[in-house]
């Protein structure tokens, strides 16, 4: 048999324009709207969210007050915009805490396996058995309600399930042949984690971050509504919801204005996490 090596050359394909799914467009637009509200909303509206004007309570939309005024005559639009800042801060902080615990712990247990895995997983299971709202209420009961404790409370209620998620992903990644290949090349454990495990976690973490941000916005609102989150008069989407609740029968539009941003933001996060999930599937991208 003649020894022949065929040189297989494939020309790089011209970058095909990918069609962006409609739901991705909707999610991205809503997300952008929320982001704009946070960044330039307060400046655009130009009203003090804490200025009380009792003579001008429950004013309808129009004039200087785009969305009218609340029960104390404060500008609703600017309270929503400033509230978006507080809520976003809480959501991002809570997700950051959960991620900071879950990734190191999940990678450690999933990669090492053995008794480390066994012990830590049981401890995580223990935390998992406590309802997350109970954890949140416990933390707030201990330290009092504020932005900081809400961040802490939500972060601490998310990490157990996130850790388990990361751990099971790492267990799957660890047994792939590319990890064997790295070991045969002489890569240290740290190098294997860096080059083979962490890179494989990127899509999961991105998707999970958006999912958790949606959860956190919703949970902040729930805690605020229960009076356990950010305390009035400080503006947040949760505290705004709590304030408007008292007047829901006489002025339902206040509750509506408080609730709609929450729905839109959570919807945006869910849409974005779905499209990220589709797009980051390693088998289809490159």
């Amino acid at each position: 048999m003649k020894t022949q090596v065929a040189v297989l050359v494939t020309e790089p394909r011209p970058a095909a324009r990918r069609r962006v799914p409609l739901l991705t467009t909707v999610g991205a637009s809503l997300g952008l709207l929320v982001l704009l509200t946070i960044v330039i909303g307060p400046w655009l509206i130009g009203q003090d969210p804490y200025a009380i004007d009792i003579g001008n309570r429950f004013a309808g939309p129009g004039g200087a007050h785009w969305l009218g005024t609340d029960e104390l005559g404060r500008d609703v639009a600017s309270r929503i915009a400033y509230g978006a800042r507080a809520t976003a801060l809480i959501a991002v902080g809570a997700v950051a805490i959960a991620t900071a615990i879950a990734i190191p712990l999940g990678v450690l247990t999933g990669f090492l396996g053995g008794w480390v895995d066994l012990v830590v997983t049981r401890v995580v299971d223990l935390f998992f058995a406590i309802p997350s709202l109970l954890v949140a209420i416990g933390v707030i009961g201990l330290f009092g309600a504020s932005v900081t404790t809400t961040v802490l409370a939500l972060g601490l209620s998310y990490w157990p399930f996130y850790t388990r998620l990361i751990r099971s992903a790492v267990v799957g990644l660890r047994s792939r042949p590319n990890v064997d290949a790295a070991r045969v090349l002489g890569a240290s454990r740290l190098r294997v984690i860096r080059t083979e495990i962490l890179t494989g976690l990127v899509p999961l973490v991105l998707v999970q971050t958006t999912v958790l941000l949606g959860f956190a916005i919703l949970d902040e609102a729930a805690l605020g509504f229960l009076g356990l989150g950010v305390q009035p008069p400080q503006a947040s989407w949760g505290s705004r919801l709590a304030e408007s609740r008292e007047f829901i029968l006489v002025h339902p539009e206040l509750a509506l204005v408080a609730g709609v941003p929450i729905v839109l933001a959570v919807f945006a996060m869910n849409l974005l996490s779905d499209s990220l999930r589709d797009r980051l599937d390693a088998k289809r991208t490159g």
């Binding site: 020894t3 022949q4 090596v5 297989l8 042949p177 090349l185 002489g186 080059t195 490159g286």
Partner: protein
């Protein structure tokens, strides 16, 4: 084969325990007292059915698994308990090529990043020199440098296997363990990759342990062939002897199972009765006896059930582990056609 052996495997045993804790878990003996040598520049074929332990032997040699018992020596040095720097040196000497080209690469890293690994881990090159050597490596296996910025999943199976070969050759190993390197590929691509192996072996003086269930690929590439059955070595010898004049009944059955086309249409082949899992774990005696045609022919002698056959010299320069090897009749003549049909 003469001279210093490169790799020497002696009495290798590997047990896999059931998952769980404590005693009382049943152990499966995947590799059972296996000994062989690989000489510098030689390609040894390791063949056997699924579950015969051939992949486990490969993984033991590259130290992805630790042996339960036995010694693996490279140039006379025991590989157990190698630590730190010595272990890294060993990694430069022995490399592996994997079967599954899909999963042997991280889909999130470019070819450039993956092929940089060996040079970075062993501090062999960096910067412009690294770039140059990766480019050379890629051309060496028949790929081109513009492919460096692509991801593994953008390649075909054959191209990915070339990448696998490139990755293994980067550290200039003395021995490469190739675990079913062509089984996942199209037949036409198999031939290309086998040719590449033959060429590299000739040019680089590479020794290779070629693990495969494809007898034709093994015959094409290997100077010597070792046959495994249920974790035991049943026959080892020069390729011609083993394929044309095998003495062990299992080897004969294995070779007889290759369909041989006959002039005038139709083909013949012998089929081994039963499954590999039909044989219960045998403590004493021959593993193959329950499926052995020769054993039934001879009236099921008790010796095969009681005494473990050891490897001993057989006609043709090989070794075979069978009590009744000498008295075996000549194998089917289909084998000669197999030998003539390749090469």
């Amino acid at each position: 084969m003469s001279g210093e052996s490169l790799l020497s495997v002696r009495g290798l045993v590997k047990d896999f325990r059931e998952r769980g804790f404590g005693p009382g878990r049943t152990a499966v003996r995947a590799v059972d007292d296996v000994s062989f040598d690989v000489y510098p520049g030689e390609t040894l074929g390791l063949v056997g059915e699924s579950g015969s332990g051939k992949t486990t032997i490969g993984r033991l040699i590259v130290r992805l698994e630790e042996p339960t018992a036995g010694r693996i020596e490279l140039r006379g040095q025991d590989l157990r308990g190698l630590s730190g720097r010595r272990s890294l040196e060993f990694r430069r000497d022995v490399q592996m090529i994997f079967q599954n080209t899909q999963n042997a690469f991280n889909p999130r890293r470019t070819v450039r990043s993956v092929l940089s690994d060996p040079y970075q881990i062993h501090r062999l090159a960096s910067g412009a020199e690294l770039e140059e050597r990766i480019g050379g490596l890629l051309r060496r296996v028949g790929l081109t440098t513009p492919m460096l910025d692509r991801y593994p999943q953008q390649f075909s199976g054959g191209q990915r296997q070339r990448l696998g070969i490139a990755r293994a050759l980067a550290v200039q190993p003395a021995l490469v363990v190739a675990d079913e390197p062509v089984s996942g590929l199209d037949v036409s691509v198999q031939a290309q990759v086998l040719n590449l192996f033959a060429e590299l072996r000739r040019e680089l003086g590479l020794a290779m342990l070629f693990i495969s269930h494809d007898l034709r690929a093994v015959y094409f590439l290997c100077e010597r062939i070792a046959v495994l059955y249920l974790g035991r070595l049943v026959e080892i010898g020069p390729r011609r002897t083993l394929l044309e004049d095998p003495v062990h009944p299992y080897t004969r059955a294995l070779i007889g199972s290759i369909p041989a086309f006959r002039p005038g249409g139709g083909f013949t082949r012998t089929v081994i009765k039963g499954e590999i899992s039909d044989s219960e774990p045998v403590k004493a005696g021959c593993h193959f006896a329950p499926r052995c045609a020769r054993w039934r022919e001879l009236g099921q002698p008790a010796r095969c059930r009681e005494e473990r056959p050891l490897l001993r010299p057989a006609a043709g320069g090989g070794l075979a582990a069978c009590h009744f090897a000498e008295s075996s009749p000549r194998p089917l003549d289909g084998v000669a056609e197999l030998a003539g049909g390749i090469g």
